[in-house]
């Protein structure tokens, strides 16, 4: 048993922490947020140069093939910002899908560009009737010769506005089941519209008679869902680590504020009520942290990680949201002032609550694994 970080991981942590400190200060992030900029070009280039886009990609495809825990350590630091943008969508989810289901050809031609940050992938799965099960895939593709034609709407697509390529899950009209197609985000008939509100980087993607070549079919027709599942499994605890970073940030923010802010002649942190808000935060932080990293350890040591992954997501989604709520209790007025930076986390905790499956769905998935229902 050894719950400490490896040297590699400590190095990743330091460089990521420096990056966030120097390039993603509160004001800068608040600025990006105002601009609604899907992805900041300089930021993206820097991250690519640091080699972060290639961490899950093996060396043969231009990556560095790190462990999932390595990648999670990076994302925990990014979550502290929270640093927005398509890192997870492209460099983790997208890359894993290509590694899982892509042809040798597709891997060779796409993965190196993903690793270089030149090709940016986004995953288009969910629709108006929202959910992360095969039944929720209703949009269809018509097959004509070797090609496909897509018509329909994907909703709550994370990071599509900054993507060069969309990985779209659709039903084959001919009943071949669910298949996955790579669609150039610039193709005729594709319209991407950011959704306004209490969310970040979430879009509506409309397809009108979009032609897609057969060589853009990823994996077998009909096999897309299981392939997606295998690719998403390792991505989930990395998403969780990002939320852990968010919890860590609001925890530190709150402790700092509890010392600086004085009312009634003493630091507010001397009041037990304020203390208990922060105790709630750290309890949620640690629950999210250890469930996530145990799942990552199981993945890296190729143990059966299914139940740990479901649990990690169920816990992290709630923990991040709850941690933000208690941070608002600690901060009161200043907490809702946008420049202060807390609301960026509050918004992110809501944005990512359902992404890759709501806690409710992951808890359901635990039932057969715990033998509460026949598998």
């Amino acid at each position: 048993m050894d719950l400490s970080l490896s040297e590699t991981q400590q190095l990743i942590q330091e460089s990521a922490r420096d990056f966030v400190r120097n390039d993603c200060s509160k004001d800068k992030l608040a600025e990006f947020d105002k601009q609604q900029a899907p992805v900041n070009a300089d930021l993206w280039r820097k991250m690519a140069q640091l080699g972060w886009m290639g961490m899950v990609i093996p060396e043969e495809y231009g990556g560095t093939g790190n462990t999932m825990t390595d990648v999670a350590v990076l994302f925990e630091e990014l979550g502290r910002g929270p640093v927005p943008g398509p890192m997870l969508s492209s460099a983790v989810l997208g890359a894993s899908i290509l590694l899982e289901a892509g042809s040798a050809e597709q891997k060779k031609s796409w993965l190196p560009e993903v690793a270089a940050g030149e090709r940016i992938l986004a995953l288009a799965v969910t629709e108006a009737q929202y959910g992360w099960s095969p039944g929720h895939i209703q949009m269809t593709a018509r097959k004509q010769g070797g090609d496909y034609t897509l018509t329909g709407t994907k909703l709550f697509v994370q990071d599509a506005a900054s993507a060069t390529d969309l990985l779209v899950l659709v039903r084959a009209e001919d009943g071949d089941g669910i298949l996955m197609l790579r669609v150039d985000a610039k193709s005729a008939g594709v319209s991407i519209r950011p959704l306004d509100g209490f969310l970040t980087g979430v879009t509506e993607v409309k397809f009108e008679d979009v032609r897609v070549g057969g060589d853009d079919l990823i994996g077998e027709a009909g096999g897309a869902w299981p392939a997606l599942g295998r690719a998403v499994q390792p991505a989930i605890p990395i998403l969780c680590a990002y939320k852990v970073g968010g919890c860590q940030a609001v925890f530190e923010m709150s402790v700092e504020y509890s010392r600086e802010r004085t009312q009634f002649g003493q630091p507010i942190g001397r009041f037990q009520r304020v203390q208990d808000h922060i105790v709630h935060i750290v309890n949620n932080l640690d629950a999210a942290r250890w469930t996530a990293y145990e799942a990552l350890w199981k993945l890296d040591s190729s143990r059966d990680a299914a139940s740990s992954v479901h649990m990690a997501k169920a816990v992290a989604s709630e923990s991040y949201m709850t941690a933000c709520d208690y941070a608002h209790e600690v901060h009161a007025g200043i907490g809702v002032v946008r420049e202060y930076g807390l609301t960026l986390h509050t918004k992110m905790s809501r944005t990512l609550y359902h992404f890759l499956g709501a806690p409710k769905e992951h808890r359901k998935a635990l039932e057969p694994l715990l033998k509460l229902t026949p598998a």
Binding site: G197, Q263, M321, E329, A332, G333, V336, H354, A358
Partner: protein
């Protein structure tokens, strides 16, 4: 016991009268934006106009005495007014007038005749909008720690300092505030309650950029501001309740603000959201899902309990029953159950509650606004922590003597 808020014959006659009157008098083209930040100046003017028309009837402040332009209506009738306004999507007053809502009863309790004659009629008739100025950058929960000074100089008080989380869009005619009139005085004995005309030289108003500006549905304030005072000379006779007596004066409007006065209009969004979840959209309704229904029922129960607490407080406030911790209890509950409901909505309906997108956002974006506002609402009018402080003192936890509730009448 009688929980009835159904109308007697007389009451339903009055309700009809109100309905007819509103049909007559609500200016054409009045909009009801979900987020008051979208309330144009023209729309604001229409609301003021409606306010003045209500004022003529004594219906803008129906519980205030007629001699000052109020309606002096009994509980049941004023309840009907609030109710009917809510039915057409407005609060009473139909524009943000927190200053009036809280100043009016305060002046009635603490002002001298001259104050009542001068300040109350314009408020009750809707001729002026009034802001309340309490918080400062360094004085939030600790209101007694305000730093803004008002130093007597001849026939005026000279005001200097900054107030935050103030007011609304489109300005105000008056503001009232708690200011330090005796910089060397003891805590709680060094502040006074001052009415300030907003057109005096030296006042500047700067909007704040917030998650939401808060404020109740029908009367959202749109924006909150920082207000700076730079040697502002306020006529000395605008000081209400006696010099350095401001802390006592404040107990009245704080009691109102902390829910002591109760309310009858309930949280419509909950019931509207339930309907939204039952609507079929391409063959599927959110409420088809078992887990969703369970949370909808829990949400309904939450809302019902809040309604009952509000009703109890309204009854206490309008009868001579003793009030204690109930105001703060209601306020605490409204804040916490509001946030809890917002999160239930997210769990029940999914990410769609996070957008006010025209095509996808539920209830014209009202749910998305509620997602944000439920967080903002945790702090105005005293944080949840302070509400618990008030409850504890009034219950007498750990102390023999119980703190008294603030005077409402």
């Amino acid at each position: 016991m009688d929980f009835a808020i159904e109308d007697s014959a007389e009451q339903s006659a009055f309700r009809q009268e109100v309905k007819d009157w509103l049909a007559e008098n609500v200016p054409d083209g009045m909009e009801r934006p979900v987020d008051a930040i979208d309330l144009s100046f023209e729309q604001y003017q229409l609301r003021r106009e409606l306010g003045r028309r209500l004022g003529k009837q004594g219906w803008l402040y129906p519980n205030m005495p007629t001699e000052y332009g109020g309606g002096d209506l009994p509980v049941e009738k004023s309840a009907i007014l609030y109710d009917e306004m809510a039915n057409i999507g407005f609060a009473l007053p139909p524009y943000y007038d927190a200053g009036g809502r809280m100043a009016a009863p305060t002046i009635l309790v603490w002002g001298n005749d001259e104050h009542k004659q001068r300040f109350l009629p314009p408020i009750c008739r809707g001729e002026v909008r009034t802001w309340q100025l309490l918080s400062e950058p360094s004085a939030g929960s600790d209101l007694a720690g305000v730093k803004t000074t008002a130093i007597r100089d001849g026939d005026a008080y000279v005001v200097n300092g900054q107030k935050v989380f103030v007011g609304s869009s489109h300005g105000a005619d008056f503001s009232w505030t708690i200011v330090v009139t005796d910089p060397d005085g003891k805590r709680h004995e060094n502040v006074s309650w001052l009415m300030i005309p907003m057109d005096l030289p030296g006042i500047s108003v700067v909007p704040m950029d917030l998650l939401t500006a808060g404020g109740e549905g029908g009367s959202g304030c749109g924006v909150k501001n920082s207000v700076f005072f730079d040697d502002v000379r306020v006529p000395a006779e605008n000081l209400v309740g006696g010099e350095n007596n401001g802390w006592k004066v404040a107990t009245t409007h704080l009691e109102v603000e902390h829910g002591g006065a109760g309310r009858l209009a309930d949280r419509r969004i909950v019931y509207e959201f339930m309907d939204y979840c039952c609507e079929k959209r391409n063959g599927h309704a959110i409420a088809d899902d078992t887990a969703a229904r369970e949370e909808l029922v829990e949400m309904y129960i939450e809302a019902e309990i809040t309604r009952l607490f509000a009703m109890r407080n309204y009854w206490l406030a309008h009868t001579d029953n003793p009030r204690s911790y109930e105001g703060a209890q209601y306020s605490l509950r409204r804040k916490l159950s509001g946030l809890d409901m917002a999160k239930k909505m997210l769990r029940i309906a999914g990410p769609v509650v996070l957008t006010h997108d025209e095509e996808w956002g539920p209830l014209r974006g009202a749910v998305e606004y509620f997602q944000r506002d439920a967080i903002t609402a945790l702090h105005p009018g005293a944080t949840t922590d302070i509400q618990r402080v008030i409850m504890s003192r009034r219950i007498g936890i750990g102390r023999g003597e119980r703190e008294k509730a603030g005077k409402l009448r």
